[in-house]
Amino acid sequence: MSTGAVLFYVFAGMTILASLGMVLNVRNTVASAMSLVVAMISLGAIYVLLDAYLVAAIQIMVYAGAIVVLFLFVVMLLNLRTDVFPVARSRLPKLLGIAASGWGLFVFLRLLRGTLPAISPAPEGFGGFRELGRALFTRYVLPFEATSFLLLAAIVGAVILAKRRID
């Protein structure tokens, strides 16, 4: 087994453990957010292993740096340090959720078997700033510009929603 494969399995295990820790921790929301950071950073490492360097950098900056900080900020603003949520009253949603995700996983993996191409060595400069920037500003310039509208709408929406009173 190559070093890359070993690292992939290590970070895959870390990601799965951290996500489970995030979902199953019912007592402390801050600890959930911290588990989310670990999951994000491990995913960033997996992106590096898959030669997606720019995506890895943005993953660390935006997810671990901005989004989770926003979560932590709101958790602390609302003073939710001790989570007082008992387990859901009915067991049904829990069972349904686990059954649905397990079934989805099963079908997905069955469908995938034997249809995927092998991963060959990446071409020179793949996933770097130059290639991705070129793709972003030539072929994918329309979706790129469309995200600016999305961001504008999100900014306005967030300000309106979090305002104390709408006059």
Binding site: I58, V62, A66, F85, F126, F144
Partner: protein
């Protein structure tokens, strides 16, 4: 070089499943939003894996789009959480049944 693409996609599916379980079973609205983030991340991993296998940067471009959408979603979602908390003093989804039939 690395592992087969199947294993990358399988990891993505496992993370997505964990996110679904979190979004369906948890009652804390903030943790539900985090689970949605986890699901978006699982999709990103699948996109990066496919992009790598076909040596096509398009998948990574759309990962950047998904990250943008996730950031926008978190900003709006947490705005909703804050205004909800202000009105109800709780972020428990079972308390918020206004739109429930």
């Amino acid at each position: 070089m690395l592992v087969p693409l199947e294993q990358v996609i399988a990891l993505s599916a496992v993370i997505f499943g964990i996110g679904v379980i979190g979004a369906v079973t948890r009652r804390n609205l903030i943790v539900i939003l985090m689970s949605i983030e986890l699901m978006l991340n699982a999709v990103n991993l699948a996109l990066v894996g496919f992009s790598r296998a076909w040596a096509n940067p398009g998948g990574q471009v759309f990962v950047l789009m998904v990250i943008t959408v996730a950031a926008a979603e978190v900003a709006v979602g947490l705005g909703i959480v804050i205004s909800l908390f202000r009105n109800r003093d709780s972020v428990d989804v079972e308390e918020v049944s206004l739109l429930k039939w």
